[in-house]
């Protein structure tokens, strides 16, 4: 926990400036798809990766669909090669296990607990959520994690974010990690918009001074200038999400973990989210948990399919997306 970068370190500030730049870029861009392709092309130039069918996110997926189905089925057995090679690990997970205690009878009271203890009843059953997860994320990679409801994605995410402690296994994190399990953590309906911005900022690790500097841009981006002194409970849900999102995209870390919560809101907001994802592509290490195979294909360098607490497939977005869609067949 003490590994986290000090807010005063020069890197922290550098990253922050970058974030403001990204926000501006996001406002100006009207065509998300075009923007994405530009970013992609740029990324390929920088990293010097061969743009083949599997690692390219720009290529039209329909073109080679026949070919890819074949590969996807193979990939369930053998993990595909890593598109970003010869690079340092950002995250390395080995043999991760996690189980939860589900209470069988009501054991939330002291009395019941004593009874259970006297009778030798455990009062809970063990529910295994993750049973041996191994994967690596290289620096600068955009990795998607997919899986059905209840497959253990969120648990994995919370383990990465250090909210849960693993039963066994190891998580090595190289750099600062900023998790977004949910937008607007700590938002309080009784506080004004302004107060909530500072509170949420503090939870993301920003100082008051840093928030002062960013405040106007956050409000401008959320398009909420006239409402900042109104209480949050008087905001519409869309306004709340917009405010939370504009704060969230300011957060900078070496590794960003994004849950699918970012995929809410209307079409315009979706556009902003997509611009944001696209802006992260290239350089920023991102782990995106999503149900949208469209997003996996568009943004991810690599994807991981989690099924029943295990890595069921790992490889190019296309392969994993197919494997995911095959789960229901």
């Amino acid at each position: 926990m003490s590994k986290k970068k000090h807010p005063k370190s020069p890197l922290y500030h550098k990253n922050q400036k970058k974030s403001i730049g990204i926000a501006k870029q996001a406002i100006n861009s009207t065509e998300p798809v075009e923007n994405l392709c530009k970013t992609c092309a740029k990324q390929d130039k920088i990293s010097g990766n061969p743009v083949d069918n599997q690692s390219s996110t720009c290529a039209n997926p329909e073109e080679n669909s026949e070919n890819i189905v074949q590969k996807a089925q193979d990939s369930v057995q053998k993990p595909a090669k890593n598109p970003v090679q010869n690079s340092e690990n950002a995250i390395k997970v080995t043999g991760l296990h996690k189980s939860f205690h589900l209470p069988t009878e009501r054991a939330s009271g002291l009395k019941q607990a004593i009874f259970n203890w006297l009778k030798g009843v455990k009062g809970y059953t063990e529910h295994k959520v993750l049973s041996g997860i191994d994967f690596e994320v290289k620096k600068g990679e955009f990795v998607g994690i997919v899986g059905r409801n209840g497959s253990g994605k969120s648990t994995l995410l919370k383990l990465l974010a250090q909210i849960y402690i693993p039963d066994s296994g190891k998580i090595e994190v190289n750099g600062t990690l900023v998790p977004f399990i949910e937008l607007g953590v700590g938002f309080n309906p009784e506080l004004t918009g302004r107060e909530n911005v500072y509170l949420n900022g503090a939870l993301l690790g920003f100082s008051n001074k840093e928030m002062d500097a960013m405040y106007d841009e956050i409000v401008h981006f959320a398009e909420l200038e006239p409402f900042m002194d109104a209480k949050l409970k008087n905001y519409s849900s869309g306004m709340q999400v917009r405010l939370a999102f504009s704060i969230a995209i300011r957060a900078r870390g070496d590794i960003l973990i994004l849950d699918e919560v970012l995929a809410v809101g209307d079409a315009e907001f979706q556009g902003k989210c997509n611009d944001y994802f696209a802006s992260l592509h290239g350089g920023q290490t991102v782990i995106l948990v999503t149900h949208s195979m469209e997003n996996v294909r568009r943004f991810c360098d690599r994807a991981i399919l989690i099924e029943q607490g295990k890595v069921a497939a790992e490889g190019s977005p296309e392969e994993v997306a197919k494997a995911y869609e095959n789960l229901w067949q």
């Binding site: 926990m1 919370k158 849960y164 953590v185 700590g186 009784e190 500072y198 690790g205 920003f206």
Partner: protein, 273 residues
């Protein structure tokens, strides 16, 4: 996760914001607002004063009895408020614990800080009352913050211990409510300690045991330093020099044990809360 981390800037910012939020939300939607912070102990004092000082004639032998009584009620109020907020803080902030990773003690410290702010406001009221009542200010007043720190650390120890258990067994809140009622009568707030000590051999023993309680020790010591030398303190009631240290030992041992327990349990708060 240890205490050295409290100096880390990120944690300090978070603590500051949480304290601000708690304090702002405290009297949200009430007309009198922060005035309640002062009004509550004053009203409680008024009731106790009418019943015990006027109707039952308690404290005739104690100079400045009204200030004496007010000091007791304010400090007692601080203790109940502090532990009440502290014990429920982890459960109350479950939404944060489930979504971000940060040292959990920040929650307890921020919740109890609200009570500390209220106490600071109330101490100003006590000082005004004392001056009106003709108490002469002395240098010993400067010792009061240290005694309050002792009481705060004691409350913090209780909050860490019971707050951590409360996550799993919510009965703690109800048990504590009853326990604190019993404790109120075990601390010489409304009755003068001299009344207990002079009521037979049982009373003499009970009075000494009462003074081993850190709450009683702090309240009596604050009264002694702030108001009048006529106050009976742990020092004056107990002659054994080792026993005189018992209240301090209770505070230190409880705080260390509770912190370690809290630290161990806090790893699983996110799953259990």
């Amino acid at each position: 996760m240890g205490f050295p981390n409290i100096l880390c800037q990120k944690n300090r910012i978070l603590l500051g914001e949480l304290v601000k939020t708690d304090f702002k939300l405290r009297y949200q939607g009430s007309i009198l607002g922060y005035t309640w912070a002062v009004l509550r102990p004053l009203l409680m004092f008024a009731i106790l004063y009418i019943v015990f000082a006027k109707m039952l004639n308690f404290g005739n032998d104690i100079p400045h009895y009204p200030v004496y009584l007010l000091t007791g009620t304010v400090l007692w109020n601080f203790f109940t408020e502090c532990t009440g907020l502290g014990i429920n803080s982890i459960v109350g902030r479950g939404d944060l614990i489930r979504k971000i990773s940060f040292p959990k003690y920040i929650i307890v410290v921020s919740a109890t800080s609200t009570a500390l702010i209220n106490l600071a406001i109330n101490l100003c009221v006590i000082i005004i009352f004392a001056l009106i009542n003709g108490v002469a200010p002395t240098w010993t007043w400067l010792l009061v913050p240290f005694l309050i720190l002792e009481l705060y650390l004691f409350s913090l120890g209780i909050s860490f211990l019971l707050g951590a258990i409360n996550v799993k067994y919510r009965d703690i809140t109800s048990i504590w409510d009853v326990l604190i009622q019993a404790l109120f009568y075990a601390v010489p707030i409304i009755y003068p300690l001299s009344m207990v000590l002079s009521s037979g051999s049982f009373g003499a023993l009970a009075g000494r045991i009462i003074m081993l309680n850190p709450i009683a020790q702090v309240i009596q010591d604050v009264r002694y330093t702030l108001i009048t030398d006529a106050t009976m303190t742990t020092w004056s009631v107990i002659n054994n020099p080792l026993l005189r240290l018992v209240p301090f030992l209770i505070v230190i041992v409880l705080l260390i044990a509770a912190s370690l327990f809290f630290r161990k349990k806090s790893k699983h708060f996110a799953e259990e809360v």
